[in-house]
C-alpha cells in the first residue's frame, strides 16, 4: 500500500488537495471517538480507502483491528473475544442491503453477549447513506443501536495520479447503460461538484451522449440548489469539462492497446494503480546477460508517476520503450562506475547520502519494468497476437463487410478465449454501424455452439446495452475519413499524432476531444453529429471576480489570440476509458502549442475484456 503521495501533486490542478480533503474527512470519524476501535470493512473498499489513508495512520487513531465484513457470517460472527478493550465498532460499507443484514447479525450478537459493556456501533457509508439501508436497519431492529452514528463519506472519485481520477467501479457500465439505473449519474454529478468546490467552477461544459447530458443537467441543478452564497470563491483552475458517454465510441475499447501501460492492463489487469503479476509468469533470471539480472522481490508493483521510469514509458507505444530502458540501464551503470571511482571517505559518504537511495529506487524500477516488458514482449511476438492485430486492422479498414469474419468464426471453433472473440465481433459491429439480422444471429449462434448457453445472458445484455445492435445508418467510413482515424505513417518512437497508441488507429473518443478543444471547433459541428449521441455545450455563469486570468469564458476565445497559456480540460468518461486513451490525451497535453492540457476522470479503467466481462451476470 502506498504511503507517498508525490505522484498526485501537480502545479495546475493539484489532486493532492482532493486526497487531503478526503483523508481529513475520513480520519475525522475516528478522531472524534476516543478509545480503541475495530473496523469491519466491505472488502471492496479497502483498496480505495487504502489510497486515502494507510493502516499506520489508522492505527495512530486507535484502530486496533480490521476485519472483512463479508467473512463475519455464520459462526465467524463477532464475539466477545474479538472485542476486549474495543470501545467502538466501525462498519465501513457501500450502501448495499445484503451488507445491512450482515451488520445486523453482528450487532445483535455483540449486544446479546456483552449486555453490560458499552460498545458504540458506527456505520460509515461510502459514498452515501441511503433511505433503503436505513429502512433495512430499522426492519432488522438494529437502527437504534447506532444512535447518531450513521455517517457517510463521499469517496467516489479517487485520485490515482496527478492527472487521473477514477471511480474504479466496473459495475457502473452494466447498471447504467444496461439497467438504466441513474444512481451513478447523481454520484458522478456530486463528485464533479466536489471537484468544483476544490478547484473552482468549470466555466464550460461540453458533452456527447445522453448520460453526459443528464449529468450536465444535474450539475447545473445542484448549483442552483446550492445558491450562490454557499459557492466556492476559488478562481477556476479547470476551464473545460468534456463529458463522454462510453457508448459514443465502442470501437476504441475493443481495440488491443499497444501502449506499455495499456498492454500491462490487457494482460494482467491494473486495479487501483496496482499490478499483480502471477509468480509463474516471472522467468528465472538469465545469468548470461548482465542487464537482464532480473529478480522481482514481490509480485505487486505500484504503477504511478512517482516511478519516474514508468512515467516515461507508460504512454509510449510498446515498440518504443526499449530505447528508454537501455538508456536508463546505461545511466545506472554510469552511476555504478562513478561509485567505483570514488576514493575518499567523504566522497563516498556524499554518494551514499545523495545518489545511492535514488539509485536503488531506479534500479528496482528498472528491474521490474524489464521483467514486465519481457513477459509482454513474448506475448506480443506470438503468431496469435499478430493475427488478432491483423484481423482487427482488416475490420477497421472496413474489410469485414456483411459476412461473418472467418478469423472470428475459426477462433470460436478453435475454442479461443471468448472475450477475444467477443471483442472482434463488437469491433466488427461498431465499424459496420451494426449488423444485419442474419449476421448477428450467425455470430450469436456460433458463440452459443462454441461456448455454451451460459453466454446467452451476456449476449442479451450486450444487445440491450447497444454494444451489439442492428444495422443503422452506415457512416463509419465517412467519420473515419473526416476525423482521420486511420493514419498510415505512424511514428511510434517520436509520435506526431495520437494514432501512435494503436499503431495506426486514432481513438475516436480522443479525436473528438482533440477537435473539440481546437479554437475553431465549431467547424467540426456537423462532423460531431455523425458520431452517435447528442452533442451539447453549456456555459456556467461565474461572478466576475472569479474569472481566470485570460480566460474569456469559452474555447473559441483563444481564436482572438489573447490567451497564450494552455487551458485545462477535464475529460470525464462515463462508462470507462482505456489506458491507451489516457496516453493519447497525455500526448496531446505534452504538445506545446496544443490549446489545452488534459486531466482525465473515468468511472472505471477498462480494456476490451474487462469491459465486456462487466456485463456478465453476477459480476
Amino acid at each position: 500500500m502506498t504511503t507517498t503521495s508525490s505522484h498526485l501533486s501537480s502545479d495546475r490542478v493539484n489532486l493532492l488537495d482532493l486526497k487531503e480533503w478526503l483523508r481529513r474527512e475520513f480520519l475525522s470519524f475516528f478522531e472524534d471517538c476516543p478509545g480503541k476501535k475495530l473496523i469491519a470493512w466491505d472488502k471492496q473498499l479497502t483498496q480505495p480507502l487504502g489510497l486515502i489513508a494507510d493502516y499506520r495512520v489508522l492505527k495512530e487513531r486507535g484502530v486496533d483491528k480490521m476485519m472483512d465484513l463479508r467473512e463475519l457470517r455464520d459462526t465467524r460472527i463477532l464475539k466477545k473475544k474479538d472485542l476486549s478493550d474495543i470501545s467502538h465498532i466501525f462498519f465501513i460499507v457501500k450502501p448495499k442491503l445484503e451488507l445491512m443484514s450482515l451488520i445486523a447479525h453482528n450487532v445483535l450478537s455483540v449486544e446479546k453477549e456483552l449486555k453490560n459493556e458499552i460498545k458504540e456501533f458506527h456505520i460509515l457509508f461510502v459514498p452515501r447513506m441511503t433511505h433503503l439501508c436505513e429502512k433495512k436497519l430499522t426492519d432488522l431492529g438494529v437502527y437504534g443501536s447506532f444512535k447518531k452514528n450513521l455517517k457517510e463519506i463521499f469517496l467516489d472519485l479517487i485520485p490515482l495520479d496527478n492527472d487521473l481520477l477514477s471511480m474504479e467501479n466496473p459495475q457502473l457500465y452494466k447498471d447504467l447503460f444496461l439497467q438504466n439505473d441513474p444512481t451513478y449519474l447523481y454520484n458522478i454529478a456530486k463528485s464533479l461538484m466536489t471537484i468544483q468546490s476544490l478547484y473552482g467552477i468549470i466555466p464550460n461544459i461540453y458533452g456527447k451522449g445522453k448520460y453526459s447530458r443528464m449529468i450536465a443537467d444535474q450539475i447545473l441543478r445542484m448549483r442552483r440548489e446550492m445558491g450562490h452564497n454557499q459557492e466556492t470563491q476559488i478562481t477556476p483552475k479547470i476551464d473545460n469539462l468534456i463529458l463522454i458517454d462510453r457508448n459514443i465510441d465502442l470501437i476504441t475499447p475493443m481495440m488491443i492497446q499497444l501502449t506499455y501501460e495499456g498492454l500491462i492492463d490487457e494482460n494482467f489487469g491494473i486495479k487501483y494503480t496496482q499490478l499483480e503479476i502471477p509468480q509463474e509468469k516471472i522467468k528465472k533470471p538469465n545469468q548470461d546477460d548482465k542487464l537482464n539480472v532480473v529478480e522481482m522481490k514481490k509480485s505487486i508493483v505500484i504503477l504511478n508517476s512517482s516511478d519516474s521510469l514508468f512515467a516515461e514509458i507508460r504512454d509510449r507505444n510498446f515498440n518504443a520503450i526499449n530505447p528508454v530502458l537501455s538508456r536508463t540501464a546505461k545511466e545506472l551503470q554510469q552511476t555504478n562506475e562513478e561509485k567505483n571511482r570514488l576514493q575518499s571517505v567523504s566522497q563516498l559518504r556524499m554518494f551514499v547520502e545523495k545518489t545511492l537511495k535514488t539509485y536503488q529506487v531506479k534500479k528496482t524500477s528498472l528491474e521490474n519494468h524489464m521483467t514486465i516488458a519481457e513477459i509482454i514482449k513474448e506475448l506480443t511476438m506470438s503468431d496469435e497476437f499478430f493475427e488478432k492485430l491483423l484481423t482487427q486492422n482488416d475490420l477497421l479498414a472496413g474489410l469485414g463487410g456483411e459476412k461473418p469474419n472467418s478469423y472470428i468464426i475459426n477462433s470460436m471453433s478453435r475454442g479461443e478465449d471468448i472475450y477475444t472473440v467477443m471483442r472482434l465481433i463488437c469491433l466488427h459491429c461498431a465499424v459496420n454501424n451494426g449488423f444485419k439480422t442474419s449476421l448477428l444471429e450467425t455470430y450469436k449462434r456460433e458463440i452459443i455452439r462454441a461456448y455454451g448457453i451460459k453466454y446467452f445472458e451476456l449476449l442479451n445484455n450486450m444487445e440491450k446495452s447497444n454494444i451489439l445492435h442492428q444495422q443503422g445508418v452506415k457512416n463509419f467510413d465517412i467519420v473515419c475519413k473526416k476525423m482521420n482515424l486511420l493514419v498510415d505513417k505512424v511514428n511510434e518512437e517520436t509520435p506526431n499524432d495520437i494514432s501512435y497508441v494503436f499503431s495506426g488507429y486514432a481513438p475516436l473518443s480522443i479525436r473528438f476531444c482533440q477537435y473539440l478543444t481546437r479554437p475553431n471547433w465549431k467547424a467540426y459541428g456537423d462532423l460531431f453529429g455523425l458520431i452517435p449521441g447528442e452533442f451539447f455545450e453549456e456555459v456556467q455563469y461565474l461572478p466576475n471576480m472569479r474569472k481566470r486570468r485570460n480566460s474569456n469564458t469559452s474555447l473559441n476565445s483563444a481564436q482572438s489570440g489573447q490567451s497564450m497559456d494552455q487551458k485545462m480540460t477535464l475529460v470525464f468518461f462515463i462508462g470507462g476509458c482505456t489506458f491507451a486513451e489516457i496516453s493519447a490525451l497525455r500526448y496531446l497535453s505534452s504538445i506545446n502549442d496544443n490549446p489545452t492540457e488534459f486531466m482525465i476522470a473515468t468511472t472505471c479503467l477498462i480494456n476490451g475484456k474487462s469491459f465486456i466481462q462487466s456485463l456478465k451476470e453476477g459480476f
Binding site: S413, R449, K464
Partner: protein
C-alpha cells in the same frame, strides 16, 4: 392554578402552574411548549433566572420550583428542559426566603429559615452558613441577587438590609430601615445601589458609612420593580420609569464642577453655538494644552448614546464634532458608528415600537438579537431597514426576517392561498438561503395544504420538497420532483411510500411503468438486487413477466437452470424458458430448443460411453467425440444440428481434434474428403501444435502460396523460409527469419539472411 409568570431571555412568556406544569407561550400567547417538573406534590414558589455564558455573552433562562415538600427542582434551560433535583434542604418547616445564584459553572440556592441561612449547590452538599452579620435578627425575610449574580441583599425581620458577596463571606453594606416590616420588593441598580419598596420607594446607595442613608421616592402603589442589566424599571399602573446610575461619560460631562476635559469641550461647543462668545476658544485651548482633545472627543461620543432625548444626544454629539475641528488626526469611524447605533436605538425606543433599551443593554444583546425581538413583535419593515442600515449579513438579517414574515403570513387564515403565495414570492423572490419548504411546512401545520403546494413549487431543493409532498399526499408531484432531482435515494424514498398505496407489487409496477420510466428502472434494480432466495426470484420473475421483459426473465431462468444438478431438471427449465417466448422470438426459441436437444444428446452419450458431457457446449462435445474417435457419433450430431460438412467451423473442429488425438490417418482421409474450405494452413498448424513435423509436411504442398512462408516458419524450416522470402524479395520476412534464428547455433543461416537482406536493400 397559576402561581407565577415571567419572561424568558428570548421573550417568551413562562407560566408556572401549581401542578408543576410550565408553559412557554409566545408574545401573542400561543403555546410553544410545556413540561411538568413535579410529580407527587405541588409547586408553591418559583424563581426564574438567567445564566450568562461567559464566552458568548448570551443568556439562558432557567427556573427553580419549590415544591410543597420543600424540594427544589432545577430546570437550567427552559427550551431544553431537563429536570434536576437539588439536594434536600436541611431541617424542616417552611422557608422564609430563597434565591438563585447561577453562573455557567454552577447553580446555587440560598435559602433562609429563621436564624439559619443555607447554601445549596446543585450536585453538592448543603452548607449552613455561619457569618456573623453583627446585627440582631430572628429571620431573613427576603433575599435578592444582583443582576450580575455577584451580590446578594438580605432583609431581616429587624429592618436591616444587608449586602453580602454571593458566597456570603463578606458584608459589604448595612442599612437600617425605619420599619421592621419586610420589604415588599427589592431590586438592584447595577451593583451600586438598591431600590427597596416599603411604604415608599427607598433608594439606598452602597458604600456609605451611614446605615440610615437613603433617598425616599414617593410613589402611589401598587408598583413593581424590574431589575435590568444597568438599572431598575419601576412600573406602576400609570408609569414606567427607569432608574440607573448615571453612566460615567455623562457624569464626566455634566457633573457639577466636573473638571473632565469632555466637560470643557461640551462647554466650548455650547459657548460657540449657543452663546456665541469667545469662551469657546479658551476652553479649547485649555483642553489642547492638556493634550487631551482626543479623550474629550471620545468621551463625548461615548456619552451620547446614554442620553434618551434626541435633543441632548445631538448636543453631546455636536460637542464631539466641534472638538474634531481642532483635531488634526480626527478619525470619523467611531463617531459614525455611534451615530448609527443612536439612530437604531431611537428607532426602537419609539413608542410605537416600544423597545426602550439602554445603550448597554443594546450592546449586550447585539443587533442580531434586537432584530429577533423586532421580528417577534412583527416589526418586519423596521427590522429590514435596520439590517440594511447596519449592513448585516443575509443569514443574520434579510433571510431571517423574510422567512419569519412569510411564516407569519402563512398563519393569516383570512387571506386566500393564491394571494399569500404571490405575496410571499414577490417579497422573497429567489433570495438565496430562503427555505420555501420551511414556510410550506408551517402552512401544512396550519392545515393549508393548498398554500403549501403553491409554496413548495418555489422551493429549489428537491430533498426539501419531496418529504412535504409526501406529507400532504401528493404522489405525482413527489415522484416528479424526486425524478427531476436525479437523486435516486430520494426517488426510492418516494417509491416505497407510494408502493404502500397498492394492494400488491404488480399493480404498483404496472402503475409506475406507464408513468415513470426512471422510477420503473430503479424499482427493477431494487428487485434484481434483492432476489437472493428462491421466493424473491420467483416474485421478480413474475414482475418481469408482467412487464413483458421476457428476455431478462429467460436469462434469469437459464441462470437457475445452469445450477441444476440433473439433466431432467435442466431440460424442464429450458423448456419453461422457451415457452415464455410464445413462439415469437424464433431465433432465441431455436437456441433454447438446441440446448434441450444437446442435453438429450449428452445424456445418450453418457449412457452409451460412460463419459460425462454435462455442461459442455456443442462444439466442445463434438471435439471430445472426435478425440474419442467416435467419429460416427460426431457425424450424427453434426447432421442433427444442421452443421454443414463444408463449414469452416466443422473443418476446424475436426482437423484440430484429430490432430490433437493424433489420428493422423483419419486426418489425411479427411483432408482428401473434399476441398478444404479453410485451406491447408490449419492442417500444418494443428500438426505443429501436436509437434508432428512429419505430418505437417504432408499438407504443406497444398498450402496456398501466400501462407507458405508462415507455415515454414511454424514448421521451423527456417532455411526454406529464408529462400522463399528472398524469392519474394520480402525484406520484412527475411527479418522475421533472422528473429527466429538462435544466434548461437544458427550463425550460418543468420549470415546468409543478412547477406540476402543487404542484397534486397541495395536493389
Amino acid at each position: 392554578m397559576i402561581i407565577g409568570i415571567g419572561w424568558t431571555s428570548s421573550e417568551d412568556l413562562m407560566v408556572i402552574f401549581e401542578s408543576g406544569e410550565i408553559q412557554i407561550r409566545s408574545l401573542y400567547g400561543q403555546l410553544k411548549s410545556l413540561f411538568n417538573v413535579i410529580k407527587d406534590s405541588r409547586a408553591i414558589d418559583f424563581q426564574i433566572f438567567n445564566t450568562v455564558n461567559t464566552y458568548t455573552g448570551s443568556y439562558t433562562t432557567g427556573c427553580v420550583i419549590l415544591s410543597a415538600k420543600n424540594k427544589l427542582v432545577l430546570v437550567k434551560d427552559v427550551y431544553d428542559p431537563k429536570i434536576q433535583q437539588f439536594p434536600d434542604i436541611p431541617g424542616s418547616g417552611e422557608l422564609d426566603s430563597w434565591c438563585i445564584i447561577s453562573t455557567d459553572k454552577n447553580c446555587t440556592v440560598l435559602a433562609s429559615r429563621q436564624n439559619d441561612l443555607y447554601q445549596i449547590v446543585y450536585g453538592g452538599v448543603p452548607q449552613l452558613l455561619r457569618l456573623n452579620f453583627g446585627v440582631e435578627y430572628n429571620s431573613i425575610k427576603k433575599l435578592c441577587v444582583s443582576f450580575s449574580h455577584d451580590l446578594v441583599a438580605l432583609n431581616t425581620d429587624t429592618g436591616y438590609l444587608l449586602v453580602c458577596n454571593n458566597e456570603i463571606t463578606r458584608i459589604i453594606h448595612k442599612y437600617k430601615a425605619d420599619t421592621t416590616e419586610t420589604a415588599l420588593d427589592i431590586a438592584w441598580i447595577s451593583n451600586k445601589a438598591i431600590l427597596a419598596l416599603w411604604d415608599n420607594l427607598y433608594l439606598i446607595p452602597l458604600g456609605s458609612d451611614d446605615i440610615k442613608n437613603h433617598f425616599e421616592i414617593y410613589y402611589s402603589s401598587p408598583c413593581f420593580l424590574i431589575q435590568e442589566l444597568d438599572g431598575v424599571r419601576v412600573v406602576t399602573s400609570t408609569s414606567n420609569i427607569f432608574y440607573q446610575v448615571v453612566p460615567k461619560p455623562l457624569r464626566d460631562i455634566f457633573e457639577i464642577a466636573s473638571i473632565d476635559v469632555s466637560s470643557a469641550l461640551f462647554e466650548a461647543s455650547i459657548a460657540f453655538y449657543e452663546n456665541k462668545n469667545q469662551k469657546a476658544e479658551e476652553y479649547i485651548r485649555s483642553i489642547k494644552e492638556k493634550g487631551a482633545l482626543e479623550d474629550a472627543i471620545a468621551n463625548c461620543i461615548q456619552a451620547a448614546p446614554h442620553e434618551f432625548e434626541p435633543k441632548y444626544q445631538a448636543e453631546v454629539l455636536r460637542a464631539s464634532l466641534f472638538g474634531r475641528y481642532f483635531d488634526d488626526y480626527a478619525n470619523a469611524a467611531s463617531y459614525v458608528k455611534m451615530c448609527q447605533t443612536i439612530r437604531v436605538l431611537n428607532a426602537i425606543r419609539h413608542p410605537q415600537i416600544g423597545l426602550p433599551l439602554t445603550y448597554l443593554e443594546y450592546e449586550a444583546l447585539s443587533p442580531s438579537v434586537v432584530i429577533n425581538r423586532l421580528i417577534t413583535r412583527r416589526h418586519f419593515a423596521l427590522a429590514i431597514e435596520i439590517c440594511k442600515y447596519l449592513n448585516m449579513t443575509d443569514e443574520e438579517g434579510i433571510i431571517k426576517i423574510l422567512s419569519n414574515w412569510a411564516l407569519y403570513k402563512v398563519s393569516q387564515t383570512d387571506v386566500e392561498d393564491n394571494q399569500i403565495a404571490a405575496m410571499i414570492k414577490s417579497k422573497l423572490g429567489d433570495t438565496p438561503g430562503i427555505s420555501y419548504a420551511e414556510i410550506a411546512r408551517r402552512a401544512i401545520s396550519a392545515g393549508r395544504s393548498g398554500l403549501a403546494i403553491r409554496l413548495l413549487d418555489y422551493e429549489v431543493k428537491a430533498s426539501e420538497q419531496v418529504p412535504l409532498y409526501i406529507e400532504i399526499d401528493m404522489p405525482e408531484l413527489a415522484i416528479k420532483k424526486a425524478m427531476e432531482s436525479g437523486d435516486t435515494d430520494l426517488i426510492y424514498m418516494v417509491l416505497f411510500w407510494y408502493k404502500n398505496k397498492f394492494n400488491n407489487v404488480s399493480d404498483f409496477m404496472k402503475d409506475i411503468s406507464k408513468k415513470y420510466h426512471i422510477a420503473f428502472s430503479l424499482m427493477l434494480q431494487y428487485f434484481r438486487q434483492n432476489s437472493q432466495d428462491d421466493k424473491a426470484i420467483n416474485e421478480f420473475n413474475d414482475i418481469l413477466n408482467q412487464q413483458n421483459l421476457i428476455n431478462e426473465q429467460v436469462c434469469s431462468i437459464i441462470n437457475v437452470a445452469l445450477k441444476q444438478q440433473t439433466a431432467e431438471k435442466k431440460k424442464q427449465m429450458f423448456d419453461e424458458a422457451k415457452r415464455l417466448y410464445l413462439n415469437k422470438e424464433v431465433f432465441n426459441t431455436n437456441l433454447l430448443n438446441d440446448e434441450i436437444k444437446l442435453i438429450k444428446t449428452q445424456e445418450n452419450l453418457e449412457r452409451n460411453y460412460g463419459k460425462k458431457f454435462d455442461g459442455k457446449s456443442l462444439y466442445e462435445t463434438l471435439g471430445e467425440l472426435i478425440r474419442l474417435k467416435l467419429l460416427d457419433e460426431a457425424e450424427k450430431i453434426r447432421k442433427e444440428f444442421k452443421i454443414s460438412d463444408s463449414s469452416e467451423s466443422w473443418w476446424h473442429l475436426k482437423v484440430k481434434n484429430l490432430a490433437k488425438a493424433s489420428c493422423w490417418d483419419e486426418l489425411e482421409k479427411f483432408s482428401k474428403s473434399k476441398k478444404s474450405p479453410i485451406g491447408y494452413e490449419p492442417f500444418v498448424n494443428y500438426c505443429m501444435d501436436a509437434n508432428n513435423v512429419q505430418e505437417a509436411k504432408k499438407y504443406f504442398p497444398k498450402v496456398a502460396a501466400d501462407n507458405r512462408f508462415n507455415c515454414l516458419i511454424k514448421m521451423k524450416c527456417l532455411a526454406d523460409a529464408l529462400d522463399l522470402a528472398y524469392q519474394k524479395k520480402d525484406i520484412q520476412q527475411v527479418n522475421i527469419v533472422i528473429g527466429k534464428c538462435d544466434p548461437s547455433s544458427q550463425k550460418i543461416l543468420i549470415d546468409k539472411a543478412k547477406m540476402y537482406r543487404g542484397e534486397l536493400i541495395n536493389k
